[in-house]
Symmetry: C2
Subunit: 184 residues, 2 copies
């Protein structure tokens, strides 16, 4: 247990708050902790067929470079994560998914953020008539699951949700935990 | 490419800075982005023997609960990540490692932080005569790799570095990428 003594400073953004707190540790020592209060998010591993997935290329301001990732995004206030997953998939790839299964819930940055990301597998994809959100997404790519796994092991796919989504879908598949009818 | 127009506000902590920036997107649209400028960190998957690893229990202020994780920590200014890994392992578990191999470099929170975590596998462990950092670590646990994998799939181990370290060590082992002499 660590107990807040006071908030020393804070930064308020549209979607979250960062607080620097003075904190008393279990041992009695007084120190500072940062805490980002962040909405939950959904990430989607979208299967075109059992061997092929969709990934998105996007610019990441915090890194100053373009990355290849699973489609993903923050939940709107009051929005359920499965609804968020379907919405983000449509906005970022232009595909609607018929089926979603939860793959993993995780905390990306447990040292300073309470953000939770829920990763879903998605299948039964159909192209819908909508424009992709070009403010966020530069390009949508189709690749084999095997190639995506290679890109993880070579360090090209290097963000937590994308690597975890691909690795854990495969781990659950190997254990027979993906429902038989997932791929339709 | 996204271009900073100006910094709207900032929060300065001892080890990092959070900035809220007004930004011009590729498409011309003006929006806000947050950017946490964070030091790199090392995480360690420490093998007592080929079947058993060490994990640490610690309180996470941002979540308000205790977690089970790989030992890990931020690099000190100018500190190489392999040196950081050995230091954090000693501080958090009381073990020195003879061998370190890099397993994965990743960005935990690519949407708002430039933090990079490098995960190492560690072996050749010997107990050293030092007190564990009780401000950070509540308990050190030994468990089998198989049990740790179960805890991931059941959502008990739920932070990005711990799940990725265990999954990717196994993936590299399955591909014959872990050196023969790693376990001595």
């Amino acid at each position: 247990m660590e107990e807040k003594i006071k908030t020393l400073s804070a930064l308020y953004a549209t979607h979250f708050t960062a607080e620097l707190d003075r904190v008393r540790l279990r041992t009695g020592k007084v120190t500072e902790r940062i805490k980002i209060d962040h909405p939950a998010a959904a990430a989607i591993l979208p299967f075109i067929d059992p061997a092929h997935i969709l990934l998105v290329r996007q610019w990441r301001y915090a890194l100053g470079k373009e990355t290849i990732e699973l489609p993903a995004g923050k939940a709107d206030p009051g929005e359920e994560l499965d609804v968020c997953a379907l919405r983000e998939l449509e906005e970022e790839t232009g595909y609607h998914a018929e089926r979603l299964i939860p793959i993993f819930n995780f905390y990306p940055a447990i040292g300073y953020s309470n953000e939770l990301i829920r990763i879903y597998g998605a299948s039964g994809l159909t192209r819908i008539d909508r424009v992709i959100d070009e403010d966020e997404i530069a390009q949508v790519e189709v690749m084999t699951v095997d190639h995506a796994l290679d890109l993880i092991l070579r360090g090209v796919i290097h963000d937590s949700k994308s690597a975890l989504g691909i690795l854990l879908f495969q781990a659950r598949q190997a254990r027979g935990e993906i429902p038989q009818d997932f791929f339709g």
